[in-house]
Structure formats: C-alpha cells, structure tokens
Amino acid sequence: MARDEVTLTRSYHLSAGHRLASPALSEAENRAVYGPCFRPHGHNYLVEVTVAGGVDAVTGMAYDLKRLDAAVRQALVDVVDHRDLNADVPALEGVVTTGENLARTFWDWLARALPPGTLRRVAVVETANNVFEYCGEGELR
C-alpha cells in the first residue's frame, strides 16, 4: 500500500427477501443445514464498501464519493433492493444467498463497476450479530 493511500468505507442500506436452499441438497437436508433460514424471510442489509486511493493534492480527496455512490447504486443497490434474491435477481440465479456468497458476488459486481484495483473490502451486515466480509486477494485487518 502506497504511503499516501487512504481507505474509505461507505455504507449502503438495502432490504431484500431470501431463503437459504441449496439445489445440491434434498428438502430434508436443506431444513437440517439451514434451520429457520430455509423459510422465506428478509433482512435490512447493510453493505459496507471499502475503497482505496491516493489523496489528490488539489481536492484533498482520495475518492469521489458521489461517483462511488452512483456506481454502487447502479451495480448493486438498484439490482437487489426490495427484491426477492431467490426469484427476482437474474444475476443471482443458482447462488445460495448466504452472507458468504452475497459478499463475494457483490465484490465481483463492484470490482467491475469501480476503477480497477480500488476495491478493498465488501462487508455484508446481515443482522447486527452476523457480518460476512470478502477482501478478494487481500487480508481482512
């Protein structure tokens, strides 16, 4: 990491319905593995997006948050907010919508939408007690 590199984290809210059910498992197995999460339910998700950049000497900013907001809105929030993740989001077809899979899928979407090499971390806060984070090839610190 360059000496003048700063990381910024921005949070986005979205509400979505889902259930955990794997096509690789029988109904009884799904019930046993996922428990109450096998039933259709939903969350107020909080998605934290951490990006990195060098501080611009003129503006004092490492990242234009307006551009970040616009990119995250288009690539992520507008795609999943107030949707049934299991039925209404073609890009999630075949994905078991666990926090783990959402974190790395959202990473893929955002990595394509943001300036190359600037994405550092995606955190999916499913509830106040459960957080799932993906850092690509980086390490969580």
């Binding site: 899979n101 893929d108 993906y134 090839e137």
Partner: protein
C-alpha cells in the same frame, strides 16, 4: 451468473456477556496498586461485546464457511457460559494475570483456537464498553 471469487470469506458473529473484575497485583502494596491502576482497583463490571471472526473457503454446496449455529454453540460453551455473570479474578485463567481487556481477548483466543482450529479462527475483537475495544489476531 459469474463464478464467485475463490478467496476466503470472513464471517463474524457477535456475543455479549457481563462480568466483574478489578486490577490488582497481590505482590504489590495497596499504594502501588492504586498508583498503577487507580479506580480500576475496586471491583467493577462491564457489559462486554465479543466479535468472533472466522475465515475459510466457502463450501460450494451450502454456500457457508461454517454453520453459524455451531459457532454460537462453541463460543457459548467455551466462553459465554464461563465468563457471563462471573468475577474474572476468580477464574483460574486469571490467577496471577490481570483481566484487562487485552488479556481477556487473548484468553478467549486460547479457549476458542483449539475448538475452531487456529487456521479458521481469524480475529477476536472485544469491546469493554462502546468506547473501547481491542483486537487480537492470534500468536
């Protein structure tokens, strides 16, 4: 659909417990203890918040790193049942060791490491109150 990344995913679960402690070295005089630790020499307590982070590859069948209900059971048995509504100074783990937030975080790592696997346990983050927390990534 694109194939999701193959890197590890970090899953964090949050727990709470309340415990009493005081900072006191038996081999020191009361004056020395008070000078070093001030108000912390009296028995007091905290509502601790514990965040346990595990790291691992996602099981492609289930989409999970670990069954979080299992994590809840392990942490509940090894840590919460042991420390919740307990006086930390009375616990054998803190014999001769002051139960600071730092030492408590390392102790919790030592309790969970063997049960979760040192490769899977990634971080212990322990909040003593909403204004102060420590993080430990293992030895």
């Amino acid at each position: 659909m694109s194939e999701p990344g193959a890197g590890p995913v970090y899953a964090t679960r949050r727990f709470t417990f309340s415990a009493a402690h005081r900072y006191w070295r038996r081999e020191w005089s009361p004056e020395e203890n008070r000078r070093a630790f001030g108000a912390l020499t009296t028995v007091h307590g905290h509502n601790y918040t514990l965040e346990v982070t595990i790291r691992g590859a996602v099981d492609e069948r289930t989409g999970m790193v670990m069954d979080l209900a299992e994590l809840k059971r392990v942490v509940g048995e090894a840590v919460i049942q042991r420390f919740d509504h307990a006086d930390l100074n009375d616990d054998a783990l803190f014999s001769g060791v002051i139960p600071t937030t730092e030492n408590l975080a390392r102790t919790i790592w030592d309790l969970l490491g063997p049960k979760l696997g040192p490769d899977r346990l990634w971080r212990i983050r322990l909040w003593e109150d909403p204004t102060f927390h420590v993080e430990y990534y293992g030895p």
